[in-house]
């Protein structure tokens, strides 16, 4: 087997490994949507990640414009879908809210981010 063929096989195996691997957990979408304005106060915040997350080493905080916490309990990772995280919220008054999340993906990589949404009457 010549060097070129060996190289191509090695590269193909490498690419196959890349496709099969886990990765950093990126925020795919959120409900309420990132940067959105909603008319009705949502009772729960849902985050959808690109990878499963480890609940013991992950956190989500929701604060109002004054910096007060408005999340009403621990975040929950969906047992059937570890990429989905939910946080119960208190009754939100109209105003701006900020979400800050830090998660550890199942491949042990940390990621974080933050975004806002607005509740209008």
């Amino acid at each position: 087997m010549n060097v070129t063929r060996k190289t191509l096989i090695a590269f193909a195996l490498f690419v196959a490994s890349a496709i099969a691997a886990h990765a950093h957990a990126q925020l795919e979408r959120a409900d309420p949507r990132v940067g959105s304005t909603v008319r009705a106060a949502p009772p729960v915040l849902t985050l959808y990640f690109s990878e499963g997350v480890e609940p013991a080493f992950s956190s989500v905080q929701v604060t109002d414009a004054a910096g007060r916490r408005v999340d009403a309990g621990k975040m929950r990772v969906d047992k059937g879908n570890p990429q989905q995280v939910q946080v119960p919220l208190r009754a939100l008054a109209p105003g701006q809210y900020n979400v800050r999340w830090r998660v550890l993906s199942v491949d042990t990589h940390k990621t974080e981010g933050s975004f806002g949404f607005e509740v209008r009457p």
Binding site: S17, H22, R33, F57, T108, H109, G113
Partner: protein, 347 residues
């Protein structure tokens, strides 16, 4: 020779096919170590800086650029057509300190002359990411790049001397700007500045004049160069996850449009000759607009290469790159630092 400007500006570093084979197989052969939290490729707080094609990104990471392909016309008179195929593999030794090894294979088409092909000199970069401020999306690394003389082919311009380049890399995301600035927060900047010091001050070539029979001496100086550049990038992934989700198709949410710029100015050991248009007498470089498409485990980038003057090249060239995030592909083996300790400021 002025085509070296482009070669250096285009971040050409490649491992040989044999080395790649061995490395790739070694990746696959490695089996699970214990795992603890890691940050890895260039995440700084909420910001991800993709691996840029012309300017090195400001982080230490486990990654593989394979291949980087570029094509352009050199600044020689007349211009040569040059094709470079290059690559680079990077490995973290600790969380903050890493080593990169790379090389380039060059093919030259010389108008009216013989074509040439061969390897450029081997390059090694040692980088220490000493400052990381996640809240400010700010990162600074320092290090030194070494081009090892006599490891390439002289026919394609590989020098016989070493060149050592102490370098500083910086990255800053705009995510900490006030929220009312909206889209502006999705911008990020990176930059680098280095000082290239050749190990030889000059090369003296001796020949015999065919007419007089006397010895003649030709002296070529090897200047010190200030090498600097940067990128401005608009991160659609950042926009979607941290500013506003516009509901665009996923293919758009993975794009990072950017402009890179890379320059090289002789600052010492050069003779100023105002009518000479080579790289030893004036600033050369390129401006590269393009786009990087980011996935979870790899990215693909493509840029136009626009020379800033005739000494930098002729016409518009291009560069494209496939880049793998080895820390995501092999998170418990190759994608972890050999010694999992950190001594950086701010994290």
């Amino acid at each position: 020779m002025s085509y070296q400007v482009f070669r250096r500006a285009l971040h050409r570093r490649l491992i040989s096919p044999c080395a790649l084979t061995a490395t790739a197989l070694a990746f696959i052969a490695l089996a699970g170590f214990d795992a603890s939290p890691a940050a890895a490729h260039c995440f700084v707080g909420s910001r991800f800086f993709p691996a840029t094609l012309s300017v090195d990104d400001p982080c230490v990471a486990d990654e593989l650029s394979m291949p980087t392909i570029s094509s352009f016309k050199t600044g020689d008179l007349p211009a040569n057509r040059e094709l470079d195929i290059s690559g680079e593999v990077s490995k973290r030794i600790t969380e903050d300190f890493g080593v990169s090894i790379g090389r380039t294979y060059t093919r030259l088409w010389v108008p009216g002359g013989p074509n040439a092909s061969g390897w450029q000199n081997l390059e090694t970069t040692f980088k220490y990411q000493f400052l990381t401020w996640p809240q400010s999306e700010f990162v600074v690394s320092t290090g030194v790049s070494v081009e090892w003389g006599r490891t390439g082919n002289a026919s394609v311009g590989a020098e016989k001397f070493h060149t050592v380049t102490p370098t500083l890399w910086v990255g800053k995301g705009m995510g900490d700007l006030p929220s009312y600035l909206g889209f502006v927060r999705a911008f990020g900047l990176t930059g680098q500045v280095g000082y290239a010091i050749p190990s030889w001050r000059r090369t003296v070539t001796t020949s015999i004049d065919p007419d007089s029979g006397d010895f003649t001496f030709d002296e070529e100086r090897h200047p010190h160069f200030l090498q600097y550049g940067g990128s401005i990038q608009f991160s659609m992934p950042y926009l979607k996850a941290n500013v506003v989700d516009l509901g665009l198709p996923d293919v758009f949410n993975r794009m990072v449009p950017l402009v890179e710029a890379n320059f090289r100015t002789p600052v010492a050991n050069n003779i100023q000759m105002p009518n000479v248009w080579d790289e030893n007498n004036r600033t050369t470089g390129s401006v590269n607009p393009g786009i990087i498409y980011v996935t979870d485990k790899f990215q693909i980038g493509a840029e136009a290469v626009i020379p800033i003057n005739r000494a930098s090249g002729k016409g518009i060239g291009w560069v494209a790159q496939l880049h793998f995030y080895l820390d995501d592909i092999f998170p418990t083996t190759y994608g972890r630092p050999i010694i999992p300790i950190s001594a950086r400021i701010g994290q």
